[in-house]
């Protein structure tokens, strides 16, 4: 019953792959640097077209190796297309093309010149299959060709790739490239790539010793990985030296990982803040236990989805602006639902917290099932605009763009809300009504209207949170459930009725959670935070920032 008994052994293909990698690489780079003018035995197109009769990955590898060996930069687009799955064979005449577009008809282009040839039905083409091993091989091959690229940025990228994936057989190529290199930055990168490659080569110990120092200076995760890998085979003096170097890199790394943790905490805190800030108004200021708060967040996320769908169908070029357009709409839609909820249900239940809890819980189930009926139970795809994808590095701190924007957005929403509450007449009325309803009414404030508008504001802010959360979480009917407990936790911890309490509470819990996680794991970490809050509430029942004096009685 063991499955391995009935499986074909993939070992042999694996070995060719391991051999093919470095070998092609070396050949490719040598030739590209040595002489491009060398007469070629086979025209490029013929090699490219030989993709048409591959039967397995091993054969594809051979052709990639052959293409790399030509050392001709013209093969780079072909290889890139192959790696991305855009290289197809026309079944009728076994010609190979680069294709683009989606759907039933594809545009086909000449693989070498990139000129448009025409259109072809998808059925008439068959894709040349690649796997991870091939993608790695192609990356290395292209990297080798790029060392000789006329563009310094491309050369630097190639050098960086080589630091991350060092290869002894690429050493001569790197050294040859280094001799010709004029740009100081690129030369520096190549020096490091050379050091990295020396560590995995069989060069004499003196060179390796120098290389250890050079690699330790890089100080990154990749460098550490390289040194750890080298440690296994080092002996004597080298062993001592590499141990010292590892200790040094690890020390640097530990500072960075501390900083990284703070960032993760901030970013988790900002998500908590976004989710909780609307509740800080409906629950914190008005005192309504609103179990449907999470569903307001979900509605905001679905508004984003609808906006993106409309844009995708009608005006795809506006896609990068989709989130900006979704923001006001999400605020309005969620706010309107909140308004209806207050007018329809909650206003009859003021002063009866248990009934409010049950009624809003029921409403949350109704909203979930309604969304499930309209949009279906499966996840909906909300895309990220290009400016929110990817990451950048500060030192060794990796910061993803979407998280950075969410932190900024949370701060902006918080500031805006503070402004509304403290600097506008609506805010003044709101505070007046919640602090002393009868006195406010006596002053001529229409308290029922203020109640409804306050609830709508809280719900609208939850809708805004939904737009942001659609970028990092599932857009499904269950989206809101994941945030409701956390939101209540933040508001109660921070102090009911105090926006600053919510702010500090969210960030504290975020950072505490992220510092616990590496030691306790995600499951236990969450439990610890909960236990901590329970104990904390015993000590300070009104949270971090308790309202004092008459305001507290409201």
């Amino acid at each position: 019953m063991r499955p391995s008994a009935s499986q074909s052994s993939p070992k042999s293909c694996d070995q060719t792959m391991r051999l093919a990698g470095p070998l092609t690489f070396a050949i490719a780079v040598f030739l590209s640097l040595a002489s491009l003018a060398q007469s070629q035995e086979k025209p490029l197109l013929e090699i490219v077209n030989s993709f048409s009769d591959v039967r397995d990955f091993a054969q594809t590898e051979e052709i990639v190796a052959e293409l790399g060996a030509t050392g001709d930069p013209a093969v780079v687009p072909v290889l890139r297309a192959l790696s991305e799955g855009d290289l197809h064979v026309r079944k009728s005449d076994n010609q190979v093309f680069i294709v683009s577009g989606r759907g039933k008809t594809l545009m086909i282009m000449d693989p070498l010149s990139g000129e448009m040839v025409g259109e072809e039905a998808k059925r008439a083409l068959s894709k040349i299959r690649v796997n991870n091993g091939l993608r790695r091989l192609i990356r290395d091959t292209i990297g080798g060709l790029a060392l000789a690229s006329p563009d310094p940025a491309a050369r630097l990228r190639a050098a960086r790739t080589l630091i991350a994936n060092p290869d002894a057989s690429s050493l001569p190529a790197i050294e040859a490239a280094l001799e010709k290199e004029a740009d100081a930055d690129v030369a520096d990168g190549m020096m490091r790539a050379r050091a990295a490659a020396i560590l995995v080569s069989d060069r004499p110990d003196a060179e390796k010793s120098e290389a250890i120092t050079a690699v330790a200076e890089i100080g990154t995760q990749d460098a550490l990985s390289l040194l750890l890998g080298f440690r296994g085979q080092a002996e004597g003096d080298l062993r001592e030296q590499v141990d010292r170097a590892i200790a040094r890199v690890e020390r640097v790394q530990s500072y960075w990982s501390m900083a990284q943790n703070v960032w993760y905490g901030l970013s988790l805190g900002s998500v908590l803040l976004l989710a909780a800030i609307g509740l800080a108004i409906t629950f914190g200021v008005m005192g309504v236990i609103n179990m449907a708060h999470g569903e307001m967040v979900m509605i905001g996320a679905y508004v984003t989805f609808v906006v993106q769908e409309v844009i995708r169908l009608n005006a795809p070029w506006l896609f990068d602006w989709s989130l900006a357009m979704a923001l006001p709409l999400a605020f309005l839609v969620a706010g309107a639902v909140g308004y209806a909820l207050e007018r329809g249900v909650i206003r009859f239940l003021y002063g009866r917290p248990l009934e409010t809890l049950l009624a809003t819980w029921g409403v949350s189930l109704i909203l979930q099932q309604a969304v499930r009926t309209i949009f279906g139970p499966t996840n909906r795809e909300v895309g990220s605009p290009s400016w929110m994808s990817g990451a950048f590095e500060i030192g060794q701190l990796t910061i993803t763009w979407n998280r950075l924007y969410i932190v900024l957005f949370a701060l902006a929403v918080f500031a805006l809300l503070l402004f509304v509450l403290n600097r506008t007449s609506f805010g003044l009325q709101m505070r007046a009504v919640t602090q002393n309803r009868r006195m406010a009414a006596a002053m001529g404030i229409r308290t029922p209207r203020v109640d409804a508008m306050t609830f709508a504001l809280g719900s609208g802010v939850a809708g805004l949170a939904g737009v942001a959360l659609s970028q990092i979480d599932n857009v499904s009917p269950n989206l809101g459930q994941g945030y409701i407990i956390d939101s209540f936790m933040v508001v109660v911890f921070g102090g009911v009725g105090n926006l600053w309490g919510t702010f500090v509470g969210a960030l504290t819990l975020g950072i505490a959670n992220k510092f616990l996680e590496p030691y306790a794991g995600a499951v236990l970490g969450k439990i610890f935070v909960l236990v901590f809050i329970i104990l904390f509430i015993q000590k300070r029942p009104r949270g971090l920032f308790a309202l004092k004096g008459r305001a507290a009685e409201a």
């Binding site: 499955p3 391995s4 009935s6 499986q7 074909s8 052994s9 993939p10 070992k11 293909c13 694996d14 990955f57 796997n131 991870n132 091993g133 993608r135 995760q221 550490l224 750890l228 890998g229 080298f230 296994g232 990982s257 990284q260 943790n261 993760y264 970013s267 988790l268 998500v271 609808v306 769908e309 995708r312 979930q368 099932q369 309209i374 949009f375 279906g376 139970p377 499966t378 996840n379 795809e381 895309g383 990220s384 994808s389 990817g390 990451a391 990796t398 993803t400 763009w401 979407n402 990092i472 599932n474 499904s476 009917p477 269950n478 459930q481 994941g482 992220k514 996680e517 590496p518 995600a522």
Partner: protein
């Protein structure tokens, strides 16, 4: 993916409603009732609603072919609402009140465990279509999804042999399926000579959405100079934020591939897959499999659901196989009586959608091919490797010391789900 779901969903819903109303009205004597026990609301609706639709389609098609034993089939749809105790109640309702001949349903292991006693007590038949942790074989249940040796173990073999992986992250959601699967995998990896410090095991709560630290940990774990891979048993909703974080932190499949056992076409539908190309999944079926049977199945599905964008997935194929096996077993036995079907279904072999035949084994598990697919830009998988033959579902894992001596064989005279080959007696752990 497209915005036309609204209409189709309402259409599908009203079709389902009409169907269930028709059931109440018809009350005919000459039909055979088939129960469908899948959550249509609550957390699991995301996965299970599709299976309900798939079952309705299969029943519809069988009726067009003339039904079973000359009688029409009638679907009885109930909604256990992702509530585990409610699964048991609804199962009881289906068998006792509606007198269904067989039930197709359940997704999570906990829902299956919750209905087991009901099926045993009332002698019903359950076809369970989802890959699961094994360690179970019950007389009234037929497991048409993959056991760990039909999914997890071959996937690890692939990574070890083809990708040369030496260091492993086993990441899962904190419940029974990932915990048992990871226990089996850990034992398997160690039996293959992987050092304990080269295995990192990580559990997260259901619906975990903040993956920053864990993805960063994986990155660090992967930079120890050895090729690293992630084996993911992360369940359901937690996958989308996990893959988004992988993409954002720039973990490429070429460097640290992730192989998932709970991520199929349906889960990828909520994601932009361009940054995920090359990450892997192990299943017994992919929509992209190029066979005539599969093309027919996909066309029928699109026609039934009225939406070209809807995908098919592995548990749907499991229902396809399970349903056809049940039909054939009933025809063979000449009756829908559970005892007769339990006897006649063993050895029944029906075509699967990947170009072969799947057979019901005496341990109530089936034979399946194992496919490894890489995620493509269009949200589909491309098969990069498959077992040369069929793999028999192994209910008691060979890699867990307690389970090694146990076997299941429901044919007379053994008729036992946990026969201990060492003591020669029926009754080990698990079913008693």
């Amino acid at each position: 993916m497209t915005g036309h779901h609204k209409k189709t969903n309402i259409a599908a819903l009203s079709a389902a409603l009409a169907m269930s109303l028709a059931i109440g009205a018809a009350k005919a004597e000459d039909t055979i009732k088939v129960g469908i026990l899948h959550s249509l609301s609550g957390t699991m609706a995301i996965s299970e609603t599709t299976l309900k639709d798939a079952m309705l389609m299969l029943i519809d098609e069988q009726n067009k072919k003339g039904g079973v034993l000359g009688k029409k089939l009638e679907a009885v749809v109930v909604d256990p609402a992702s509530d585990w105790p409610l699964f048991a109640e609804k199962a009881r309702e289906l068998i006792e009140k509606d007198k269904v001949a067989a039930v197709f349903g359940c997704w999570t292991s906990v829902s299956r465990k919750s209905v087991l006693p009901v099926f045993e007590e009332l002698n019903g038949l359950l076809f369970y279509p989802v890959q699961y942790e094994g360690e179970e074989s019950q007389r009234n249940v037929f497991y048409t999804g993959a056991a760990p040796n039909q999914q997890a173990v071959p996937a690890v073999d692939y990574l070890m042999d083809v990708e040369g992986v030496e260091r492993w992250v086993l990441a899962g959601t904190d419940y029974v399926y990932p915990r048992t699967t990871n226990k089996i995998l850990e034992a398997y990896l160690q039996s293959k000579g992987v050092a304990p410090e080269d295995i990192m095991i990580n559990y997260t709560p259901f619906g975990h959405s903040d993956w920053q630290t864990i993805v960063a940990d994986i990155k660090t774990f992967g930079s120890a100079g050895k090729k690293t891979a992630v084996v993911s048993t992360i369940n359901g909703d937690a996958n989308v934020p996990f893959y988004k974080e992988l993409a954002n932190q720039g973990i490429k499949a070429e460097d640290i591939p992730v192989v998932a056992f709970s991520v199929g076409e349906e889960e990828l539908a909520g994601l932009d897959t361009a940054p995920l190309v090359g990450h892997l999944a192990a299943w017994n079926y992919f929509q992209s499999v190029d066979t005539d049977a599969n093309a027919e199945f996909i066309d029928a599905w699109h026609a039934f659901i009225g939406d070209e964008a809807r995908v098919t997935n592995d548990p749907m194929e499991a229902h396809y196989i399970g349903f056809n096996m049940w039909v054939e077993a009933v025809e063979k036995a000449g009756t829908t009586d559970p005892d007769a079907v339990i006897d006649s279904i063993i050895g029944v072999s029906v075509p699967n959608l990947t170009g072969g035949y799947s057979a019901m084994m005496p341990n109530h598990h089936i034979t399946k091919p194992v496919l490894i697919g890489e995620i493509q830009e269009d949200g589909q998988f491309e098969v990069v490797w498959e077992t040369s033959g069929l793999v028999v579902g192994d209910e008691w894992s060979d890699y867990l010391p307690d389970s090694r001596p146990l076997i299941a064989d429901w044919r007379a005279p053994m008729s036992c789900g946990n026969f201990n080959t060492e003591t020669g007696k029926c009754g080990g752990k698990g079913v008693d």
